[in-house]
């Protein structure tokens, strides 16, 4: 017999599922954009990690919209398209998302500089994880200069991405209030 209490629970009228799908769509689009950006000679071999900036922002302010499945799919698509070690980036991103969930309250109360430093640490950790996995699997260390360029450029782009996403968030909130 079914538990009687479950009949009296409130129906989930405000499901996050559509928003989660939208976030997943944007995240995948950013991964594809990363791959596309590499065609620009300037970003050859080291396109900035736009999807990581997006993930970092969403995980801080709307972590309920980015379930771990989204992170997994995002990482896996990047691994497939960049021909990286399958599951390398996916694992790194999932571990990062797990770590961020633990410290999300502290991050929400941090000022921008702390967030930037936090992002630098996160970005470095993701790349370092991939580098270690790559080194273990291939018994070789790849050229580090493109990796540093990628890291540096992603860190430079972080404030721009952050401001853009903050503006979009504000706009959406305003639209919601007006409605």
């Amino acid at each position: 017999m079914k538990d009687q209490q479950s009949y009296f629970e409130k129906a989930d009228f405000q499901s996050n599922l559509p928003k989660q799908f939208l976030v997943m769509f944007v995240a995948v689009l950013l991964v594809l954009l990363e791959v596309g950006l590499a065609q620009w000679p300037f970003f050859y071999g080291a396109s900035p990690l736009l999807s990581l900036i997006f993930m970092y922002f969403i995980m801080i302010y709307h972590d309920e919209l980015m379930p771990i499945m989204t992170v997994f799919i995002m990482g896996l698509i990047a691994d497939f398209l960049m021909s990286d070690i399958l599951g390398g980036r996916a694992t790194a991103l999932m571990l990062l998302s797990y770590a961020m969930r633990v410290g999300v309250l502290r991050l929400q109360q941090s000022d921008f500089m702390d967030l930037w430093v936090g992002f630098a640490v996160s970005c470095t950790a993701v790349m370092l994880f991939q580098l270690i996995v790559f080194t273990v699997v291939h018994f070789a260390v790849p050229s580090l200069s493109p990796l540093l360029f990628q890291l540096g450029f992603t860190l430079i782009l972080f404030p721009i991405g952050f401001v853009m996403m903050f503006s979009i968030q504000r706009l959406l909130q305003t639209l919601q209030v007006m409605r």
Binding site: E9, G36, Y44, L81, G87
Partner: protein, 304 residues
């Protein structure tokens, strides 16, 4: 906390653990290079490549526009440079015609069999390497056009890489700059054999040269044709730096501006291509001290 919430939290934790375990195990399964994984990769490429093409259209547009502006700004200087280059090329063309005729005569005298049974098919490069961990590109051509794993990919400047995964409409090319790429080469002027090794960077490493070899900066490095997969004589690059055993080669092809590439089809009849997608493009020289190889050097690298 309601019982259903507790169940949700338990369920979420389980999903976390399962996904992390799955992702972690994928790293090893992917490395095992199973046929299923290869098929999965190519299917995903076939599915996602048109989307990437669509997404990167504005990027290509901006790049074309920037290139156009640059070209217009330097039109006059470019015209002068091109005229000078044209004069030089005309002279080289005459010289090439003389050398070609001489080469044909020598081939007929020595009875050398020419390896010219390859046909050329051109394809657009859909992606460029976006990360530091793999140097591969997707090209818009698949097994419908008759290409197969192991086919060399070239531009007019030289060797780009080798096809290593083929899907229905797209194929993935392992570039010579990838860390897994080992290309049997020889120095153009001295004919010493060696291997170029990619470093996932701008330059290649030239290794396994015999101790007697004295490569010079600017010397052309060509494919040697060992292993039978790559035809001999394709330009790989030029020696850029010689620092003891550390010899650096700058690739002949400017990988940053790869728009179109050509795939050389055929010409490897009789070569076992079953193992090609596992990256074993190079057939090692046999360890046989008595056997004489290129320039009288045996497999151990000592001169005979």
């Amino acid at each position: 906390m309601r019982p259903s919430d507790k169940a949700k939290v338990r369920h979420r934790r389980l999903v976390h653990v399962v996904l992390i375990a799955l992702s972690f195990s994928l790293m090893f399964i992917g490395k095992a290079d199973l046929v299923a994984m290869r098929d999965l990769r190519m299917s995903s490429n076939d599915f996602l490549a048109p989307v990437i093409d669509f997404v990167s259209a504005p990027i290509r547009g901006v790049e074309t526009m920037a290139e156009g502006i640059r070209t217009v700004a330097s039109l006059r200087a470019e015209n002068v440079r091109l005229q000078a280059e044209n004069d030089l090329l005309q002279r080289w063309r005459r010289r090439a015609e003389i050398l070609e005729s001489e080469n044909q005569q020598l081939r007929s005298v020595t009875g050398t069999v020419s390896d010219e049974n390859r046909s050329l098919i051109t394809a657009r490069a859909v992606t460029a390497p976006g990360g530091s961990f793999a140097h591969t590109i997707l090209i818009a051509i698949g097994n419908e056009s008759g290409i197969a794993a192991g086919d060399p990919v070239v531009t007019s400047n030289g060797l780009v890489g080798i096809v290593y995964e083929v899907g229905r409409a797209y194929a993935r090319v392992l570039m010579i700059s990838d860390i897994n790429a080992r290309i049997p080469v020889m120095l153009a002027s001295s004919s010493w054999p060696g291997l170029t090794i990619g470093r996932n960077g701008e330059y290649l490493e030239l290794a396994f040269l015999p101790a007697e070899a004295r490569p010079e900066v600017g010397e052309l490095v060509l494919t040697s044709g060992h292993g039978g997969i790559l035809p001999a004589g394709l330009a790989v690059g030029r020696v850029d730096r010689v620092d003891g055993d550390d010899i650096r080669v700058r690739p002949a092809v400017e990988f940053r501006n790869l728009g179109y590439v050509s795939v050389l089809i055929g010409g490897t009849e009789g070569v076992d291509r079953s193992d090609l997608s596992q990256g074993s493009f190079f057939t090692p020289l046999p360890i046989d001290d008595d056997k004489r190889l290129l320039e009288g050097v045996n497999a151990s690298g000592t001169r005979q």
